[in-house]
């Protein structure tokens, strides 16, 4: 695309520092960052970061993924293995309650006018992933609550046959909505103007989905006594982590190519690399591979791997929220990102 303005032009030169201004927050001066050599306006942000609390929203995204994937995996185990997977199915159905309860509470807490949370139910909009997610969460909450209630009834021996049938009937829509619940959060971030979130919409969604499945499998692994099922949950987690790592590699390329990589250079990016990817994906994969090669599986290592997946999954979401805010606050990143060569086709 040809542009009508002179591209060699500079912005305000030798902009004096201002307390709390971009230059005092150790942001690179205009033109001193490899990704952007054009002008900025006194280094001031060109975008506003989302007013989300990283731990709250990151925590919700993590719980949504964990709950959705738990419901999904429990349903698959129920359908394919039936009674033999009863323990994993029960735990999965109860874990699925995390998003409707704690997750919803976190969402309401993050509103700046929480007493009006019900206004989310005024409309349904396909252009707004937050609206899509609201309705997915509502549907999932209903189905997961019904499933868990029926499960509880059958656990207590109240009308066991009816309760089991009801649990299975409610768990099928819960599984479908659970898939949506664990991935719509990526669309929520990608469908913004925040450069880091918008730079790799597909890879981010694949990572969120895969990481959710890994977290669900890890959560169900904890407490699984059936060796055969535990091994298969490990394999499922390993496959999901491999997909996650592939998505990580793809998104890293996109971040570099679209000039948003500097936003990952800070503490949030380090957390994402060390805890999110290193502890949460690379370490468990290595542990699984090592135990497979050694032919034996010390339970402690399996527990370590499962916990690492869960901690890493939570850290990954939180650090993406944080790094996104950094990318919005840095004009060098946002201006580089919003250049004609980065426009979608």
């Amino acid at each position: 695309m040809s542009v009508p303005y002179p591209v060699a032009s500079r912005g305000p030169e030798d902009a004096p520092a201002r307390p709390g201004s971009a230059s005092e927050r150790n942001m690179p001066a205009p033109g001193h960052d490899g990704s952007w050599d054009g002008p900025t306006y006194y280094g001031r942000p060109a975008l506003k970061p989302a007013p989300f609390e990283a731990e709250v929203v990151g925590g919700y995204i993590f719980l949504a993924g964990l709950s959705g994937a738990s419901a999904l995996i429990a349903t698959v185990a129920d359908v394919t293995m039936g009674e033999r997977a009863a323990g994993a199915v029960r735990r999965g159905r109860y874990t699925a309650l995390l998003a409707p309860t704690i997750g919803s509470a976190l969402l309401v807490y993050d509103l700046h006018t929480p007493e009006r949370f019900f206004n989310m139910f005024r409309v349904a909009k396909a252009t707004s992933p937050m609206s899509i997610g609201t309705w997915i969460l509502v549907g999932f909450s209903g189905c997961a609550a019904l499933t868990a209630a029926a499960q509880y009834a059958s656990d207590r021996g109240a009308a066991p046959r009816t309760a089991r049938a009801a649990a299975r009937a409610a768990s099928l829509p819960a599984a479908v909505l659970g898939a949506g619940l664990s991935t719509y959060t990526a669309a929520l971030l990608a469908a913004t103007s925040t450069p880091l979130w918008a730079a790799a919409p597909r890879a981010l969604a694949v990572r969120f989905g895969a990481s959710a499945v890994a977290c669900g499998a890890a959560a169900l692994w904890l407490g699984e006594r059936d060796g055969g099922l535990a091994r298969r949950l490990e394999t499922l987690a390993a496959a999901a982590l491999a997909v996650d790592l592939a998505g990580d590699a793809v998104s890293a390329i996109a971040y570099r190519r679209k000039g948003v990589a500097p936003a990952m250079a800070g503490p949030a990016g380090t957390l994402e690399k060390v805890v999110g990817t290193g502890l949460g994906a690379a370490l468990p994969l290595a542990l699984y591979a090592a135990s497979r090669l050694a032919g034996r599986r010390p339970p402690a290592l399996g527990t370590l791997a499962a916990l690492a997946i869960l901690v890493g999954g939570a850290a990954f979401r939180t650090s993406i929220i944080r790094a996104g805010a950094t990318s919005a606050e840095r004009p060098d990143v946002s201006f580089r990102f919003m250049q004609p060569d980065n426009l979608p086709d």
């Binding site: 542009v3 303005y5 032009s9 500079r10 912005g11 030169e13 030798d14 902009a15 201004s21 002008p39 306006y41 006194y42 001031r44 942000p45 060109a46 506003k48 989302a50 007013p51 994937a69 698959v76 185990a77 394919t80 293995m81 033999r84 700046h112 006018t113 009006r116 949370f117 206004n119 989310m120 909009k125 252009t127 707004s128 992933p129 898939a179 991935t183 719509y184 990526a186 669309a187 990608a190 469908a191 979130w197 919409p201 597909r202 981010l204 969604a205 694949v206 969120f208 989905g209 895969a210 499945v213 099922l229 298969r232 499922l236 496959a239 919005a328 201006f335 004609p340 426009l343 979608p344």
Partner: protein
């Protein structure tokens, strides 16, 4: 050219200095346009005639009863406002072009080569990303094709804030609701042009029907080109910078004479809602694949048992 002062014939009906009532369709007298529902209204901000007086900022604060943001000096030329925010819906940007190293140049090229001033405002995008993102329907398109936050609906989720590609909307810490320029929705309803446009002493801010304004702006660019300002261009008209990536056009658009980034505007913003489907379906595909893997793994376990 248009050097003669044209008075609208209706102005003769209001000769007294203090009026006892609101003039019906006052905008016809002040902006030469009658405000009617169903038409598109917006701003054409011609930065080449902005003198940086900030009358627009003051008029906006006065009319909309907006609290002060930061008191004090920024040290960034005459821009002590800084940015658009929940409480600042017009922001005059100042760019001192000449004088590197703190020493002002002794000689300047004619015509604004040393100074750039621009009154920034909400762009009232045709496909407004904030409105598309709003999960409560608080953000809506008015009958004047402008974008407004309904304060009695907004629950402060803040999702419109990262949606905006221009950094306009903000959630107020005072009341926990999102705020931005309403293009003086209340004034438009009463037949008045927006406060900033009415107060602008140089007509840098022009209010009117978007199609009229676009034509006026194109003529202004052609005029500037003919007068030896070849770098003048429009930002936010169809096909121009600022209206890229599915944004169609901005109802509040600008005439600039330097790169958009110099004025703190992005060159090529894109419409965020276009990323919903790719992201959603890629994630679902990944989960579907892993679900299939789980089904194969588990049924294999069942067979071996």
């Amino acid at each position: 050219m248009d050097n003669v002062f044209h008075m609208h014939p209706r102005a003769a009906e209001h000769h007294q200095s203090s009026l006892d009532r609101v003039i019906p369709n006052e905008s016809e007298l002040t902006a030469g346009v009658r405000i009617e529902p169903g038409k598109s209204y917006g701003f054409f901000t011609d930065t080449t005639v902005c003198i940086g007086c900030k009358a627009c900022e003051v008029a906006c604060k006065e009319w909309n009863n907006l609290p002060a943001d930061n008191l004090g000096l920024s040290g960034q030329s005459f821009d002590n406002t800084g940015a658009l925010s929940a409480n600042t819906w017009r922001h005059v940007a100042f760019v001192e072009k000449s004088g590197a190293g703190g020493v002002r140049a002794q000689e300047q090229q004619p015509f604004q080569s040393g100074w750039l001033m621009m009154s920034d405002v909400c762009k009232h995008c045709h496909h407004a990303p904030c409105m598309e993102a709003c999960p409560t329907g608080a953000l809506f398109k008015t009958e004047f094709d402008t974008v407004v936050v309904q304060q009695d609906i907004c629950n402060g989720c803040g999702y419109c804030v990262p949606a905006c590609p221009f950094g306009v909307v903000e959630v107020s810490k005072l009341d926990g609701k999102a705020h931005k320029c309403t293009l003086c929705y209340d004034r438009l309803k009463g037949g008045l042009e927006p406060a900033c446009a009415k107060s602008c002493p140089t007509d840098s801010i022009q209010f009117g029907e978007v199609s009229d304004l676009q034509g006026r702006a194109r003529r202004r660019v052609a005029d500037l080109h003919a007068r030896g300002v070849p770098q003048a261009y429009l930002y936010g008209t169809p096909g121009a910078p600022g209206a890229t990536g599915g944004m169609s056009h901005l109802n509040a658009f600008f005439l600039l004479i330097d790169r958009p980034e110099v004025y703190n505007l992005p060159s090529a913003p894109s419409r965020p809602s276009r990323r919903v489907a790719p992201s959603l379906f890629s994630g679902l595909a990944a989960v579907a694949g892993l679900t299939l893997a789980a089904a194969l793994l588990f049924s294999d376990a069942e067979r071996r048992a």
